[in-house]
C-alpha cells in the first residue's frame, strides 16, 4: 500500500511541487493544510505516515504545529520544509521532534532522500 502524506504549506506552488515530487515517487497525498492549526486538525483526522511541514505559516506556525502533533502522537514522522536562512528555526523544530528537514528551493532527489530517512 502506498505511504500516505499530509502536506502543510501556505503556498499553493509549494504544495503542488511537493505533491508532484511525492506522487512521482509513489506516495499518496491524502491531505493538505495551509496553516499550523489546520495541520494539527488534519493530522488527527488522517493519521498520515508522513507530514511535510512548512515553518512559517499563518495562524499557527509550523514549529508550534510540530509540538502540538508530537504531544499527542509521539510516533509522528514530520519533515520540516525550510527556506534558506531559517537555521535557528530548523534547530528549534528538530528539538520539538521533527525528524529531518529539507531546504527550499527543493531538489527532488534531496526531498525524496529525506522522506526515505524519515520513514526508514
Amino acid at each position: 500500500m502506498a505511504r500516505t502524506v499530509l502536506i502543510c504549506d501556505d503556498a499553493l506552488f509549494m504544495r503542488s511541487m511537493l505533491a508532484d515530487i511525492l506522487k512521482g515517487a509513489g506516495f499518496e497525498v491524502i491531505g493538505e493544510a495551509q496553516t499550523g492549526a489546520e495541520a494539527v486538525k488534519r493530522y488527527k483526522e488522517l493519521h498520515p505516515d508522513l507530514v511535510t511541514m512548512d515553518i512559517v505559516m499563518p495562524d499557527m506556525g509550523g514549529i508550534d504545529a510540530v509540538r502540538a502533533i508530537m504531544k499527542e502522537y509521539p510516533q509522528a514522522r514530520i519533515l520540516m520544509c525550510s527556506a534558506m536562512g531559517q537555521q535557528a528555526l530548523v534547530i528549534e523544530a528538530i528539538q520539538a521532534g521533527a525528524r529531518d528537514f529539507v531546504v527550499k528551493p527543493f531538489q527532488p532527489s534531496r526531498v525524496l532522500e529525506a522522506v526515505q530517512r524519515v520513514l526508514g
Binding site: S82, Q87, I91, I94, F101, V103, S109, R110, R117
Partner: protein
C-alpha cells in the same frame, strides 16, 4: 531528478580527467618524484567523485582502486615499477571503457550523491578526549549540505539508541560549524551499528572510525597536500555545451546574412548608415569571438598519443620516443574529436613499419631508439600537423611492385615515382587495405581510411619519404569546420564559395597564360589550369579572367573563374551529395547577400 541532464557535463569532465590520468601515469614512468603522482591521484580521485555522483558504481570503484595504488606510491610505500605502471595504465583503460559503458545506460541512482569534499587533512582535535573513549568517528557532511548544525544534531540524536555514546567535538553545533565533527564512543558501543546509523542520517559524505591512538597519529601536522591544479581563473569560468555554441554560431551566421542584405538598402551616410557600419563591426567581432570559443588546444588530441606509441613500440619490441610540440595550437572542438583516429593510425604505422629494429638502426649508424616527432603550427586560417619518423622510409620499389601486381600501375611502370604518386598508391583502397601488403611494403595499413578521414574534415595530407632517413606526413586542417573564410567567385551567372584553407593566391589570367598547354606561368612555375566552367558544366560563356591557385602538397592548380567577387566568412553546411551529383562540393552556404551557394572543394579538382 533526472541525472541524464548532467550526462554531457559528466562525459566532458571525465574525459579531461582520464586524459590527465594517462598523461600523468606516463610521466610518472619517466620521472619519479615529480608532481606526476599527485596529478594522477587527483585525477583518479575526481573521477571517483564524479562517477559516484552519477551513481556509476563500477566506474567509481575502478577509480577508487587506482586512487588507492597512487596513494601508496605517494606515501612512498610502493615504488612505481614498470609493472605497476602497466597495471595502472590497464586499469585506466578499463576505467575509460567503463565510463563509455556507463554513459550508454541510464544513471542507476536518482541521487546526486556526495559532492565529495576533498578528503583533506582531518580537523585536528584540539580538545581532550572524554574519559573512557575507545573509538572515535570522524564524520564529514557534504560540503553543500544545508544547515550543517541541524544535520549534526540529527546525526547525534539518531545515535541516542546506541549505547556507549560519550559526546562529540564540537559539543554544540553553532552557525559556524564546518561540517566535520568527531563522535566519541566507549568500549561497549556497537561501532558497526553506529557507522550505519551515521551514514544513513543524511548528507554524510564519510564516516571514519579510528582508535584514539590512530586519531593522535593522524592529527599530527601532515605535509601540505598539493595545491589544486594551476587554474588561476577556474572560478571565473563556466562550461557551455558545445551544441549551444553551435547554435550561437548559427545565429550569428544568419545575422550576418541579414546584415548583408540590409546593407545595400541603407544609404551609407546619415545616422542609419553609421549605425549599420558599427553593427557590421560588432558582427565581425562576434563572429571571431564565437569561433575562438569553439577552439581547444590540440593537447586534447595529442595527450593520448604518447601512450599509443609506447604500447605499439612494446608490441613490436622497439624502443621509440615520441616528441610532441605545438600542442597548445588551437583548433575547433569538432575537429579535435575526429583527428585522433587518423593520428593514432599514422603513429602506429610509423612504429610498426617506419622505425627499424634496434639492430638494423645501429647497423645504419642511427641511435638504437627510434624517434617520432609530432608537431602543430598555425598557418593563417589553417593548422598544420606534421608527424615525422626517423625510420627507414617507405620502400618505394616494393610498393610499386605491389601496385603493378594489383593492376594499379602498368606492368612496365618505373619504380622511379614521386612521393606524391607513392602516397596515392598507398592510399588506394585496393592496395592499402590488403593485409599482405603491409608485411611487404611496410606501410599502408588503412592509409586510405586516414586520407579520407582527413579529407572529410576539409583537410589534406601529404607525405615525404627518404629511404633510410624516414617519412614525414604533413596534415593541413581548417581551424574551424563550421565557419570558414572563403572566396566568393562567379562562374557564368552562378556564384560559388571556395574555402581559403587550400588557396594560396589569385592571379590575373591576362598575362602568362599558355593557351595551348592550358597552363599559367607563376613565378617561373608552370601551373595547370582547371576550367571550372567546363568542369561544372555551366552553360553560359564567361571571360575566364582569374585563376585561384589551390595548393595540395607540392601540387598547384589554377581554378579558372570568371570573376573574383570578394572574400567573406561563410558557414558551411555539409551535405551528403545525392547520387549523380558532381563530386566537387563539400557543402552549401548562404552568402552574405542571402544567396545560396555551393561550396567548392578545391582539393577535389587537383
Amino acid at each position: 531528478m533526472d541525472l541524464r541532464r548532467f550526462l554531457d557535463l559528466y562525459v566532458s569532465e571525465t574525459g579531461e580527467h582520464v586524459r590527465l590520468l594517462h598523461r600523468s601515469l606516463l610521466q610518472l614512468e619517466k620521472e619519479q618524484g615529480g608532481g606526476a603522482v599527485d596529478e594522477a591521484f587527483r585525477a583518479a580521485h575526481t573521477l571517483k567523485g564524479l562517477s559516484a555522483a552519477m551513481g556509476y558504481r563500477t566506474v567509481a570503484d575502478l577509480a577508487h582502486v587506482l586512487e588507492d595504488r597512487l596513494e601508496e606510491i605517494r606515501a612512498g610505500r610502493t615504488a612505481p615499477t614498470p609493472a605497476l605502471i602497466d597495471d595502472m595504465l590497464a586499469r585506466a583503460d578499463e576505467l575509460e571503457a567503463a565510463i563509455a559503458q556507463a554513459v550508454s545506460t541510464v544513471p542507476q541512482e536518482a541521487a546526486v550523491e556526495s559532492s565529495e569534499q576533498d578528503a583533506g587533512t582531518p580537523t585536528s582535535l584540539d580538545a581532550p578526549l572524554p574519559p573512557g573513549t575507545a573509538a572515535v568517528a570522524l564524520v564529514r557532511l557534504r560540503a553543500d549540505a544545508p544547515i550543517k548544525s541541524a544535520r549534526a544534531m540529527i546525526v547525534m540524536r539518531s545515535l541516542a539508541s546506541i549505547g556507549g555514546l560519550l559526546g562529540s567535538h564540537p559539543a554544540e553545533f553553532d552557525d559556524d560549524f564546518s561540517g566535520e565533527f568527531f563522535i566519541f564512543f566507549d568500549a561497549v558501543a556497537d561501532t558497526a551499528a553506529a557507522e550505519a546509523i551515521i551514514a544513513g542520517a543524511g548528507e554524510v559524505v564519510s564516516v571514519e572510525f579510528m582508535s584514539p591512538d590512530q586519531l593522535r597519529a593522524s592529527t599530527v601536522p601532515q605535509p601540505a597536500r598539493p595545491a589544486a591544479p594551476p587554474s588561476a581563473s577556474a572560478d571565473r569560468q563556466i562550461r557551455v555545451d558545445a551544441e549551444r555554441l553551435s547554435g550561437i554560431a548559427d545565429g550569428i551566421g544568419e545575422l550576418s546574412v541579414l546584415f548583408g542584405r540590409l546593407e545595400p538598402q541603407v544609404s551609407g551616410y546619415g545616422p542609419a548608415g553609421e549605425m549599420l557600419t558599427r553593427m557590421g563591426r560588432v558582427l565581425t567581432d562576434l563572429q571571431r569571438d564565437v569561433l575562438q570559443l569553439r577552439l581547444v588546444p590540440l593537447r586534447e588530441a595529442f595527450d593520448r598519443l604518447p601512450r599509443v606509441v609506447r604500447d605499439a613500440a612494446r608490441t613490436v619490441g622497439r624502443d621509440v620516443e615520441l616528441i610532441v610540440a605545438g600542442d597548445d595550437v588551437e583548433i575547433d572542438r569538432s575537429i579535435i574529436d575526429e583527428i585522433v583516429d587518423p593520428l593514432v593510425h599514422l603513429l602506429r604505422n610509423a612504429v610498426d613499419h617506419g622505425i627499424e629494429s634496434p639492430e638494423e638502426r645501429v647497423r645504419a649508424g642511427k641511435p638504437a631508439a627510434g624517434r617520432i616527432r609530432i608537431g602543430a603550427e598555425r598557418e593563417r586560417s589553417s593548422v598544420r600537423i606534421t608527424i615525422a619518423d626517423d625510420g627507414g622510409g617507405v620502400p618505394r620499389a616494393k610498393v610499386v611492385q605491389r601496385a603493378r601486381a594489383a593492376g594499379l600501375l602498368p606492368a612496365g611502370a618505373s619504380a622511379d615515382i614521386t612521393d606524391e604518386e607513392l602516397f596515392r598508391l598507398l592510399t588506394h583502397a585496393g592496395l592499402s587495405t590488403a593485409e599482405q601488403v603491409s608485411a611487404v611494403s611496410g606501410r599502408g595499413v588503412g592509409m586510405d581510411v586516414v586520407a579520407s578521414g582527413i579529407r572529410a574534415l576539409g583537410g589534406a595530407i601529404d607525405m615525404h619519404t627518404r629511404t633510410g632517413e624516414g617519412t614525414t606526413f604533413s596534415i593541413r586542417l581548417p581551424i574551424s569546420r563550421a565557419l570558414a573564410l572563403a572566396l566568393r567567385v562567379r562562374i557564368g551567372t552562378e556564384q560559388y564559395a571556395i574555402p581559403l584553407t587550400h588557396i594560396a593566391e589569385a592571379v590575373d589570367l591576362n598575362d602568362n597564360v599558355d593557351k595551348a598547354a592550358d597552363t599559367v606561368l607563376l613565378r617561373d612555375e608552370v601551373v595547370p589550369l582547371v576550367r571550372l566552367r567546363r568542369m561544372l558544366q555551366v552553360p553560359q560563356g564567361g571571360s575566364e579572367e582569374t585563376a585561384i591557385i589551390a595548393v595540395r602538397g607540392d601540387r598547384r592548380a589554377g581554378l579558372v573563374v570568371d570573376e573574383l567577387i570578394g572574400r567573406e566568412q561563410i558557414l558551411v553546411k555539409g551535405f551528403d551529395p545525392a547520387a549523380g551529383t558532381l563530386p566537387y562540393f563539400s557543402g552549401a552556404t548562404l552568402l552574405a547577400d542571402g544567396r545560396p551557394a555551393l561550396v567548392l572543394d578545391p582539393l577535389s579538382v587537383i
